[in-house]
Each structure stands twice: as C-alpha cells, then as structure tokens.
C-alpha cells in the first residue's frame, strides 16, 4: 500500500513569488524573513521524500464558473497547465506545466464516489495559484506528478465545514489503501482571516488577528472539535469576507487526523494576512523534523 509521506497545510500568498525574486530597491523589507521561513518549510517536504503530490486548492473563478460549479472536483489528466493571465498581471506568477498522476486520480475518483462523495472530475484542468503557490514554495523544481483536488470555498452555496473535514479523512484513508509502493505527500492550502473587496482589506495585519491566533492553534493540534464547534458557513464571514478558505485548512486537519499535533508549525504576520505553515509526518512515514 502507498505511504502517506507527509501532510502539509499552509496559506497560499500569491505575492510570495514576486517578493522572493525581487532584488535591490524592489525587494520588500519583509522578503528575507519570509523567504527563510519558506525555505525551512520546504525542507519539511524534502525530508518526506515524496513521489507524488495530492494538491488541495480552490479555483479562483478561472476555469470553474457559476454556470457549472462543482463543490469538490478531482483532476484526472496527464498534464496540467498552470496560472492564468490575470495572475501573471496582478502577481507576476509564471506559466507552468505540471505532470499528473492519472492512476492515483482514477483511484481517488472511483473510491471517493463509492464511499459517498459524488466528486466531479476534469480531464483538462488549468490549475491556478492555489496549487502553484505551494509548488513554488514547497517544490519549486515542479518535478513531481500531482493530483489536484479542488474545493468550492468561493461561491455560495458551499458545502458545510464538516463536509470538508470528512473529505480530508476520506482522502487520507483512500491514499493509505492505494495499492502502490509510492510515497504520497498530501498538501493543501487555504486562508486564515482574509478580506478581499471589503473595508478591512490590505490592512497592516490580517483582518482578524484573534481568529488567526485561534485558528493556528486549532490547526497545530488538529483540534477538530473546537474548530467545528466555532466555525460555520455563517460565522466565517465575520473574520473577513474571504475567510471561507479556512475550510481547506479544516479539510487538511481531516487528512492529518483529529488531535494529531503537527510536527512543524511556523507563521508570519504580514500586511494583509497571517501566513502559516504546518507539516505532519504520519506514524510509519519515516519522516522527522530534526534532520
């Protein structure tokens, strides 16, 4: 059976690429610290020696649109072109081409549908910065095949937070039962408190530092009980109008397992948002934080 080599959750900040590649007077003052944190985080994936990456993210109205909006979708294609014109325009993100692992995609779709998730699929998916940001931060050589898992955290009506957790638990169980000798890292990105297109956007910190502190603690200890007790589709508007991306973190807590403390936790308070980085090495994965 396959090995879950690492479970990794983080925010995805589309400005990292530009900040970390800027030089001279163009380089923002926070870039060095940010880059050092990202490089330490990247080492946590490297130590897991993955063969394939399951990548959980969310399309930001690029390919998926309101005339035909899936709640949960898995890509099944040999390749994924990546990043869109408006991401190049606003964030300076490069166009990319990622390989896909069609066997694992097919397996997750079949097993997922048979265990109660009526998953949508795509045989031609162009992925966006929710997946390319963690490639840039965690695996910039972009050399491993991926399986994209897209969630709707964007367009109401959305699935309930508990459903994200259940999907995460199902993905973990399915990968562990995959008849393969590969080492699979399951990586997902979301948001802490975030405001976009509202009065609290682009402030000196994220719009709700109290929520962020609580959320980091929930994730670090995979405290699903507290998170599910406090978080609802309605409540997530309060910390910021784009905070439903936190449900992708809840999905990843489902992948990590309830009450399983992360082996690596880091965060960075930036303008506009709190960045946070988490890695779990499941028992038997052979991974360890201390190298």
């Amino acid at each position: 059976m396959a090995t879950v080599a690492a479970v990794i959750a983080s925010t995805h900040h589309p400005f990292y690429y530009r900040a970390s590649t800027a030089t001279g007077s163009d380089r923002p003052p926070f870039a060095d610290e940010w880059q050092a944190k990202i490089e330490a985080f990247r080492a946590t994936l490297e130590r897991a020696r993955p063969d394939v990456l399951v990548m959980v993210g969310s399309d930001h109205f690029h390919q998926l649109w309101l005339d035909n909006m899936p709640q949960f979708l898995i890509g099944k294609a040999p390749f994924y072109n990546a990043n869109f014109y408006n991401e190049e325009r606003e964030f300076g993100l490069p166009r990319m081409l990622l390989r896909g692992d069609e066997d694992l995609s097919a397996y997750l779709l079949r097993q997922g549908i048979d265990t109660g998730f009526d998953l949508a699929f795509s045989n031609e998916l162009r992925v966006d910065h929710s997946i390319t940001c963690p490639i840039i931060t965690l695996r910039p050589q972009a050399d491993l095949p991926i399986v994209p898992v897209y969630t709707n955290i964007f367009a109401p009506p959305m699935p309930q937070p508990a459903r994200f957790v259940q999907l995460g638990q199902a993905v973990r169980a399915m990968v562990e039962a995959w008849p393969s000798d590969k080492r699979v890292a399951i990586i997902g990105t979301g948001h802490l408190s975030l405001e976009l297109g509202g009065p609290r956007q682009f402030g000196p910190h994220g719009p709700d530092p109290d929520f962020d502190r609580k959320a980091v603690e929930w994730i670090a200890t995979s405290d699903l009980k507290s998170a599910l007790a406090e978080v609802s589709l309605d409540s997530l508007w309060q910390p910021g109008n784009a905070t439903h991306g936190f449900m992708d973190f809840m999905l990843m807590m489902g992948v990590a397992g309830e009450d399983v403390t992360a082996d690596y936790v880091d965060s960075l308070d930036l303008f506009h948002t709190m960045e946070a980085y988490f890695t779990w090495y499941p028992a038997g994965s052979g991974g360890t934080v201390a190298s």
Binding site: H60, F61, H62, W65, L66, D67, N68, F84, Y85, N86, R89, E90, F154, A155, P156, P157, L196, G197, G198, P199, R200, Q201, F202, G203, W237, Q238, N241, A242, F271
Partner: protein
C-alpha cells in the same frame, strides 16, 4: 436584478487583456456592446445556443458604465471578482504601492457586517 450577470461581465472582461483596456477607455460602449453581443453566450456552448433572457437593469448598467465598484458590491457582485478587475483597471494610476487597494477599502468604510449577500 442579476448578480449573476454582473459577475459574468466582470469575469469575462477580467480574463481578456484587450477587454480590460477597452472597458477602462470606453466603459459605456463596452457595456452596451457586451450586453447586446456577449451577455447570452454560455461559455461552454456554441454561439447560437445562447441564453435569450439575460439583461441588466438600469441600476446595474449604470454602476458598470460609471466604474462604480462600491455600487457593484452593494448590488451583491462577488467581492473577489470586483477587486481583481478594478485593480487591473486602476492600480496603475496610483503612485504608492497598494494605494488603490487602500482607497478601495476606505470607500467601503461605511460598511458593517453583514456585508451584501453575494450568493447567486
């Protein structure tokens, strides 16, 4: 009222560099052309299989023609779509980094929770 159609306008303009420039330079002409030629196109269907029932009301059309992002948001347009397109349209006119984004926030400072409903 059609939040969906406002979103569709923003979505289809934002993904096309030529249309972004055209909407910046000639909002009235672009909105009129789009409403008559493009509004009914179903994005994954051939042109003749278009919808025949989509139209802006006067308030919506006026908000688009005047580049009034506050009005668009208050009509329930999707916050991410509005922000992304208007950054493309107007960030270039501001000298300070994030100057446009901060002015955008300030122009919404009268808002309190709950914000306008974006459900479509």
């Amino acid at each position: 009222m059609s939040k969906y159609l406002i979103n569709k306008f923003i979505f289809t303009v934002d993904r096309d560099p030529d249309l972004v420039e055209r909407y910046r330079a000639d909002p009235e002409g672009t909105v009129a052309w789009w409403e008559s030629e493009q509004a009914g196109l179903i994005l994954n269907c051939p042109g003749p299989e278009r919808s025949t029932w989509l139209a802006f009301d006067e308030t919506e059309r006026n908000a688009l023609v005047t580049h009034d992002y506050v009005a668009l948001l208050e009509l329930g347009a999707h916050n991410f779509l509005v922000l992304t397109l208007f950054i493309a349209l107007f960030e270039r006119d501001y000298v300070e980094p994030l100057g446009f984004q901060r002015e955008f926030a300030a122009r919404l400072s009268h808002w309190s929770l709950p914000y306008p409903d974006i459900a479509t």
